[in-house]
């Protein structure tokens, strides 16, 4: 099923976050995970062969309700993509700053905080 592919994508991302040692790879894994979540959200509103959720003068409300895909998840995904972009920008900036300070992308070498 296509839903399980989404879940697979999320799990791949999570696996990447856990095992990666490079800051950039962790960031990319998080992106994969976020995209998996976004796809899942979109799929929930999808209807095979449905029409785009735009009301024009030709469509009645009943036909719209019967045939259109659910517009709400699409709106949610847009919001969630924007949030993801904000987080990504911040993470990328942090990676750059970390590289300036430590001279490496390897998280195992950034160990000032312990205990």
């Amino acid at each position: 099923m296509i839903y399980s592919l989404c879940l697979l994508l999320i799990l791949v991302g999570m696996y990447g976050v856990v095992v990666s040692r490079q800051t950039l790879k962790i960031v990319i894994s998080l992106l994969i995970m976020e995209n998996g979540v976004n796809l899942l959200l979109l799929l929930i509103g999808y209807r095979a062969g449905g029409m785009p959720p735009i009301m024009d003068s030709g469509t009645t409300v009943t036909r719209f309700a019967a045939a259109a895909v659910d517009p709400l998840p699409q709106a949610l995904v847009l919001t969630s993509i924007v949030i993801g972009l904000g987080v990504l920008a911040l993470m990328a900036a942090l990676c750059v700053r970390l590289y300036e300070r430590y001279g490496t992308f390897d998280v195992t070498e950034m160990r000032r905080l312990r205990g």
């Binding site: 998080l30 929930i44 949610l76 987080v87 993470m91 700053r97 970390l98 300070r101 998280v107 950034m110």
Partner: protein, 494 residues
Amino acid sequence: MSGQSVNLLPLFVVLPLVAALLTQLIARQHERVAEWLSVAAMLALALLSIAAIGRSGSYQMGGWPPPVGIDLRLDDLATLMLLAVNGVGFAVSLYAVDYMRRYTARSHFYGLFLLLVTGMNGVIVAGDLFNLYVFLEVAAIASYALVAFGTGHEELEASFKYIVLGSLSSALILVGVALVYGMTGTLNMAHIAARMSGSDLGAPLLLAFSLFIVGFSFKAALVPFHAWLPDAHPSAPAPVSAMLSGVLIKAIGVYVLARLLFNVFGASSTELGLLRWLGALSMVVGALLAAGQHDIKRLFAYSSISQVGFMALGFGLGTPLGLVGALYHLVNHAVFKSLLFLNAGAVEYATGTRELRQLGGLNRALPVTGATSLIGSMSIAGVPPFNGFWSKLIIVLACAEAGYYGFATAAVLVSILTLAYQLKVQRAAFFSALPQALRGTAGVLRGEPRMMALAMILLAAACIALSFAVLGGLRRPWLIGAAQEILSSGVFGG
């Protein structure tokens, strides 16, 4: 729930958001104006929260009714949280006026700080799950940036750790939101509660609910999910640590967890049991780790984990008395933990170190910090008659009343341990002799700046004032009793 429209409700979100934008616009030319603008915004928000006491109802954004539009909700529980967030926020913004002088790019601080408040207020009043998620991210992104504010090695490392774990937990929460929408066809919390009442949770909803528990436990830093907190909270500038430890982990962690558990999904005994164990574990592990710390702010950060454990334990009991204890402790902890972080900031401001072994005898040099931190320490350790004593007493009594004598004993023992490590801080930093190294800098040690002192006095006064809430009766303290009734009245409309 009454259908009454509460028109002051959107102000809690709009006011700090607009103020955040304005501070950015005017800060370049008039930095001082921006500082006082943020203080004025927080004062207005604190007064608004006081005005909200006793009101309840909802506000529909743009006049659209709930299934289509976005609605904001206010009830006694939300009011309690708003009071805690905006009250602490006001004291912290006062403190920041003097404290942040040491940092460059201060104007960005005020913008991010107000965004943080926007996010927290939004989470508290949000009436549907997706907006809750959006506001949660607003608060979280502001806090990631604030943790990295110092841009030193440690700040960046802590912030990276925080942002990775934070995004991971947010993604889990979003999966939960998607599943709930898929199963119930609505995101409005009251509607979800109505659709699910009377029926068992199916497997997908159970998965969604577990994702919420894991996600929000991350945000609340309950023990298996706490790894980011002891790095992130001490690394931030002191006013931010106070906000993060004092209110953020509660507004976007504990509060949402309680709200979902009791008002939306309807707690079953398994879930309550899980929450009890998470709480007890956090309580014990947090206190044990705190006792071994020598960095003041790190010690307070571990102590936050421990105190959040008390709240989770109280909520996990599910009895009215347990909920009263948890909510009372939540508000108390918001006040005294932010006070203690501000004290730690004042010590660092004056001496340049947070290392307990290098401090001592600061009572004479920093009289206000010494006195207020004594009040804060005694409150958190649960020494009567301070507020922490009453809330811990209620939690212990609630454990015993529900027949969990083991948890009650653990709570008492952890309180004693808390007293021990707080006394360690008091002795090492304020009461012992001034060490040789600090004597050379005696010129620097000439009391705390006025605004910092004022903020600490305000919070210490709040600590004492909160202990009077108990005059309303152990089972129904003022304000808190009403908030508890919202939780124990079961799911919305149920």
